[in-house]
């Protein structure tokens, strides 16, 4: 599969009361057509990385390519869109004027631009607020118009920094569905978010950044899978329960019901055969999963000095 984003040894240092390495030799590959979750605690270097990919700031080391172009190249920016975290737009403009402004920057002809503006405002549910000035928009509306501006050029790659921030639950789901539909259209989505439940639901792969370093990466389904399966059954005779305990070593009995936890995938069918052979009834077979939140906490830890609530944050690296 083609690569949408490739970073090799990407490094960025800032000098604020001493040197701070915001991004530290980051190696990254995002494939085209996938939704890639870019995770990390505050100050991990996510926004800094995004800014380097877009050419807003320049790396001190390493290199990055986006859609085959050097990061920040003008040709690249034609094919990419960006929704910043807590987006701020020119609030003297109306929603329609804002999209028109960005459309002009892409050189979209006036006729196509007008159609595109209307269809995007429809898509994000702001058609009726087209003529309203942005200063009258709520935070959620601002986020929606931000998503609309990110789609104005029909991009191949979308870089979203906290796209669901400030949205109500319904809008939240709508945006999540929109992100999935973008993937269905063959677009690549690079999603930086703290909404781990969203990331788990929509992302194909993720990586976790901590102190500027890549600490974990992989497919979401592989990361969350525990490799254990829980089988629940009823009507299993006591002697069979003993056999199952010998097989797995983990059987819990609760009145009529037994719960067998199996950590070897190859044994699952054998266990089911044993239960069925004893005329027991299988109620459920559930592969056990961990949540992405658990994986995230396990990876970055809970007690980083810059994450303690109520202490001075000296590492403002994002």
């Amino acid at each position: 599969m083609a690569v949408a984003i490739r970073a090799e040894g990407l490094t960025k240092r800032f000098f604020q009361r001493g040197e701070v390495v915001a991004v530290d030799h980051l190696d990254l590959e995002v494939e085209t057509g996938e939704i890639f979750g870019f995770l990390g605690p505050n100050g991990a270097g996510k926004t800094t990385t995004i800014k380097m990919l877009l050419g807003l700031i320049f790396p001190d080391g390493g290199k990055a390519e986006v859609l085959g172009y050097p990061a920040g190249a003008q040709e690249m920016r034609r094919l990419v869109s960006y929704l910043p975290e807590n987006p701020y737009f020119y609030d003297h403009l109306t929603g329609g004027e804002l999209l028109d402004f960005y459309g002009r920057l892409f050189g979209i002809p006036a006729k196509d631009r007008a159609k595109r503006v209307d269809s995007l405002l429809d898509l994000v549910g702001l058609r009726n607020d087209k003529a309203k000035q942005l200063k009258q928009y709520s935070k959620g509306m601002m986020q929606r118009v931000g998503i609309a501006q990110a789609l104005i050029n029909d991009p191949k790659l979308l870089i979203f920094d906290e796209p669901t921030s400030g949205l109500d639950p319904v809008a939240h789901i709508e945006i999540r569905n929109l992100i999935e539909s973008l993937r269905d259209q063959g677009k690549t989505v690079f999603l930086s978010s703290h909404q781990l439940s969203d990331v788990e639901l929509v992302c194909d792969r993720i990586c976790i950044l901590n102190y500027g370093k890549l600490v974990k990466a992989g497919r979401v389904d592989e990361l969350v899978a525990e490799g254990r399966t829980e089988i629940t059954a009823t009507g299993v005779p006591a002697e069979v329960t003993g056999r199952l305990t010998e097989l797995t070593g983990a059987v819990k009995s609760d009145n009529e019901k037994i719960v067998v936890t199996c950590s070897d995938e190859n044994l699952v069918n054998d266990i089911l055969d044993v239960i069925r052979g004893a005329r027991g009834r299988v109620i459920s077979v559930v592969p056990l999963k961990r949540s992405l939140e658990e994986i995230f906490v396990e990876t970055v830890g809970l007690a980083g000095p810059h994450r303690r609530i109520g202490t001075m944050n000296t590492l403002t690296r994002d």
Binding site: K51, L54, G55, L56, I57, F58, Q74, E75, R77, R78, V80, S81, Y82, L83, P84, N86, P87, Y88, F89, Y90, H92, L93, F101, Y102, R104, L105, F106, G107, G146, Q149, N153
Partner: protein
Amino acid sequence: MNTWVIARNTFGDSLRKRVLLIFLLLAFVMLTLALLLNYFTAREQSTIFKSTQLTIILIFGALISITTAVYLIPTEMERRTIYSVLAKPVQRWEFFLGKFLGGAMTVAFMVGLMSVALILVLFVLAAKPQTSAIETTAAAFKMNEWLARCQHEFLLVLRAIIVLYFQLFIITAIATTLSLFLAPTVNFAVTALIWIVGSFQSFLGLSEGILTRPLYYALPHFHDFNIMGSIVHPFAGFQVNHWAYAAGVSLYAVAYALVIVLAGAAVFDRREV
């Protein structure tokens, strides 16, 4: 193309700045107050009025241009609106030039409004009999004479305003470029100082000292933009082609501003945002 899109947007954004509207309002108040100089004859009143009003427009124009320009880039950074623009296929120089031109358009619009007020009042004054203090005989109003006087006044003021505006054009360029290095308040003070020193170069004798001569050449020659004498006393017999002179200083202003803005664009090209 992108430069023009950004310039137009900057113009729209700048016009909504309250501080500029306050300056404009103050300028209008002072323009109106000058009308109270009613105890002079029409010709004297017209002369005093023009010199006062052009000075008011210059001072408030300078305040507006500096105030606009010192915030053009810093506000974009502070509000983070710059991210979504520079993430689009916009060259850094297009953005910088667009911001500057938007600022220059704002100044042009504000100066234009003040000039319209000035010209309208001059038309009213031109309707009065053009007598001096010792010729107090009342004369009948003649439409043809009035129209001729209006046309004459209009061309004089137009020339003055063009020259005055190009002076502000340089100020806008300097403040926009300095905003890449200086905080808005410091930038305001530094640009104002450059304007004042540039306006009084001859008086300060900068061209005479060996050490100050480089400064004389480096600073914009704002004193060359002072054509007040030929405007206020149009019949005093200045031996120059006034329009050619106005065109000359305007071209100088465009060239000077271009150099300053290109230098700013070069710096901005490698500036992290």
